[in-house]
Amino acid sequence: MLLLFATTFVIGVFGVMAGIGGGVLFVPLVSGFFPFHIDFVRGAGLFIALGSSLAAAPYLLRQNLASLRLAMPVALIASAFSIVGAQLGLWISELNPAYIQGALGVVILGIATIMLQTPIKEFPVVTGNDPVAKWLGLQGWFVEETTGERMNWTVHRAAVGLSGFVLVGLLAGIFGLGAGWANVPLLNLVMGAPLKIAVATSSFSLSITDTTAAWVYFNHGAVLPALVVPSLAGVMLGAMLGSRILPHVPAFMIRRLVIGVLMLAGARSVLKAFGW
């Protein structure tokens, strides 16, 4: 249990700093290297993502790094589809848990590859006057710590970006992954939000996105306090530390490290599905 706590503390620090949440690291690592059944790990994964997001959210919202206006439509779409994903995931697992374990490994390896090849931009150039973004009021500001200046931001391609959260919600529900791994590229690369806004809004919006899928697993009896509590305590403490370090570190360095861990965890999941 101490090993589980230590593992999840490190997951919490790096999950929030990389803007991917804890779930995407927790599920493949714990299902691959600990003895729990994958149903319990996925249920716990959603509460880990939810818990780490709740721990980080107050600070990020008060600093105006996380945007409530931007998070609301994103989380609404993802949370609705995560219910469908959670139902689908539990059904597939009942057929054969190895299907979920193997598919999880493939998805994790895919996520790591996408993260590796995706050129995240600190300040994307936003062109045009996007009508959906304007209608939803998707704009805001933050204070750049290095210069102390107020930086205004808005987004574009809102319709395309928001539709991407359908897939994000489905995968989050099926695998219990949280959704931060996809939130950042969608918010930053597709919609053009500055990297700090994308990372912080992603970290915050997980608390909304994952709530619905977490309740599906909870109501099916797939939430085990002995797995969730030490893991959640570890991830929350780690996330609190991570959210305070976040404004002071270059996010891309953390991402490189996280990509390496994801590749290892993904490969382990695939091997475990084949009984190795």
Binding site: P35, H37, D39, F40, F47, L50, G51, L54, A57, P58, L61, R62, N64, S67, L68, R69, M72, P73, A75, L76, S79, I83, Q87, L90, S93, E94, V125, V126, T127, W141, V143, E149, R150, M151, N152, W153, T154, V155, G192, S207, I208, T211, T212, A214, W215, V216, F218, N219, H220, G221, A222, V223, L224, P225, A226, V228, V229, L232, A233, M236
Partner: protein, 144 residues
């Protein structure tokens, strides 16, 4: 898009609904974590009775969900509420409270946006609240 206009202190005020939401999340999170930890420490230390003793749990936590539920005579949905005297079930209550924090925050937004007549944001809040209530109450995505 980012630009850099001259800023004053009044320009640096965060939206009040965002600050209110942050406050609800902070308090809700503390409450959920506190209940969860009290229950779990009571469970591990033996100060509170256990619904599933730790020694038994070690042997069955790798079982598929249907088998686990059958062996522990556990019910799905909200049936766990009848076992709240147990430490592990109290910890489960703390976890459920964490699952309710978003709902509490959105109820605040419901009132704020309604008062300010921000209908677009209010509509999104209504849909999100509906989804969370339906799924938490086990009316959609139900476990039987």
């Amino acid at each position: 898009m980012v630009n850099k206009p001259q800023s004053t202190d009044s320009d640096l005020r965060v939206d009040p609904e965002q600050l209110g939401y942050a406050q609800v999340v902070a308090w809700g999170n503390r409450l959920g974590v506190a209940v969860m930890l009290v229950g779990f420490i009571g469970y591990l230390s033996g100060l509170l009775p256990a619904r599933i003793p730790p020694d038994t749990l070690l042997e069955i936590w790798s079982l598929p969900l249907p088998e686990f539920l059958a062996q522990t005579h556990s019910s799905t949905g909200w049936g766990w509420l009848q076992y709240l005297e147990n430490g592990d079930t109290l910890a489960l209550l703390g976890i459920a409270l964490l699952g309710g924090v978003t709902l509490a925050g959105y109820l605040l937004l419901f009132v704020r946006f309604l008062g300010e007549r921000k209908w677009r944001q209010w509509s999104m809040v209504v849909v999100e609240i509906t989804l969370v209530v339906l799924v938490a109450a086990n009316w959609i995505g139900a476990g039987h």
